[in-house]
Symmetry: C2
Subunit: 291 residues, 2 copies
């Protein structure tokens, strides 16, 4: 009895230590994931919300065939134009030659571009397929000089942080050699900035939330068709995804919270004396497997 009672304080002490240890380990588990995904949350409000894409989450619920969940609509015959084999071959060669001339260009001329051409280019992007035909894209075309400059200020502020804090010295040196830094003059000079937003969800007439299946993939496909349409008319752009600027740009352009910036494309003619890095592309054999 005396033994036991003399041990009581030890019991309590040991068990308290155990409890404290367990509590700490719980807190770790709670904090762990969060800190992984928001290392810079203070300097970048809502950045997670906007980088996060709910596409993955809902994949489990979705059938993989993109048009399957269309409402009950009548079917109509479909017989598109058919080309002879030699014509197909020629067309495929010509289109490849045209697209193979496309390069990402950062020196964009301030020369004006007909607005009707931009309209048609965006109409073309809008023909893209999308998960369950949700057409989850919004193209914000900025022509207004003041708004373009505000966009430049937001992007350059974030980019400067990227260069000075996020990227290693070696990388920064490489970029200096590439004459690339956080200064994005094209955001002022390009006659148009096209900011492509993905609608992460929509609304049913009933007001119920409408799932936008694969919205990021769908909008990216639309961007591919947009790039083809720009190349087809001799306009240039550079595919940029301004890091952490999405939320600020969304607010500047007054887009709703269900829309997240996917890409920013400055559009125009190449500036006189524009240069591009001398790069090669992988050959057909490097990117294709035939079975």
């Amino acid at each position: 009895m005396v033994l036991v009672s003399s041990l009581t304080p030890v019991f309590v002490a040991v068990l308290c230590v155990v409890i404290v240890f367990l509590l700490k380990s719980i807190q770790k588990k709670e904090r762990g994931p969060k800190t992984d995904s928001t290392p810079t949350v203070k300097s970048r409000p809502w950045v997670d919300q906007d980088l996060q894409d709910d596409t993955e989450i809902i994949k489990e619920e979705e059938d993989g065939d993109w048009a399957d969940s269309e409402e009950d609509v009548p079917h109509i015959p479909y017989s598109p134009r058919r080309y002879a084999d030699d014509v197909m071959l020629r067309r495929s060669q010509e289109f490849y030659a045209l697209m193979n001339e496309r390069r990402s260009v950062r020196s964009i001329s301030p020369e004006p571009v007909p607005r009707e051409v931009i309209d048609n280019v965006i109409r073309t992007a809008g023909t893209s397929p999308s998960g369950a035909h949700t057409e989850p894209w919004t193209f914000v075309v900025v022509e207004d000089a003041e708004t373009k400059h505000k966009i430049r200020e937001i992007v350059e502020e974030e980019e400067e942080i990227n260069y000075k804090q996020r990227m290693g010295d070696k990388w920064v040196k490489d970029l200096q050699r590439l004459r690339t830094n956080w200064v994005k003059e094209y955001l002022d000079t390009a006659p148009y900035l096209i900011l492509v937003f993905k609608q992460t969800f929509g609304m049913h007439a009933s007001g119920r939330k409408k799932t936008h299946y694969y919205n990021e993939i769908s909008v990216s496909i639309a961007c591919g068709i947009l790039l083809a349409a720009l190349q087809n008319v001799g306009l240039v752009t550079v595919t940029s995804t301004p890091l952490n600027c999405g939320p600020q740009l969304r607010l500047l352009l007054r887009r709703p919270a269900n829309e997240k910036l996917l890409m920013l494309l400055p559009v125009g003619f190449p500036a006189k004396g524009a240069t591009v890095p001398k790069l090669t592309r992988k050959s057909l054999d490097d990117i294709t497997v035939f079975i």
Copy 2:
């Protein structure tokens, strides 16, 4: 003293209960997220691995300008063909008209298609921009009837599970009216199946893991250009993302673990009597905001 010692058992009992409770809560926290993301892990091996896209994770480390991390390469002058305004306008109208005729087609004719045309279509997709010019795509073109049939078996087995277990009765009824179910005959009849894989990472010559920035967005853009190239030669396809089939198809086609299936495109001429749902597309005003 007597009081304390008589309380000792109580102390121990209470504190043991507390400890057990804390242990349980730790286990919950550990299990929680996992079960969320792997509800069907038993019937679908590695499905998480393959659905998971590490693009989001690495965004934090990346500069948003896609070509910035190219190695130090010389720059060369770039002056693409320039069209007069009226030519640009005409070309933009014609390309829009052509792309606007594109529809997702599920009835594909077994008629042969010249292999050179498919080569050029894939070459064209390979001109797509990609994060840091990583070109993170592999196009597996399946012409072999036996392999196509194995692909069909894998897809239909999974699709049947989707229809019977994942989708609600109403949805399934809608699909019956749409004459759509888990039977994907086009996987046998189409002369070519193009399976598009995203390379989630690459390898440096040194053997070090090479980050493929934005690989899913890059490959999706390439798919958009692929769709444009197919439409340009009068071939049809349907953009499908076979749910949970990626891992099995990757093994069937012997692709390495860093490659994940993004899309499966059956390619050919439309079958005689092919129909498509009578759908409309959003107007320019519905998808564009001008500022």
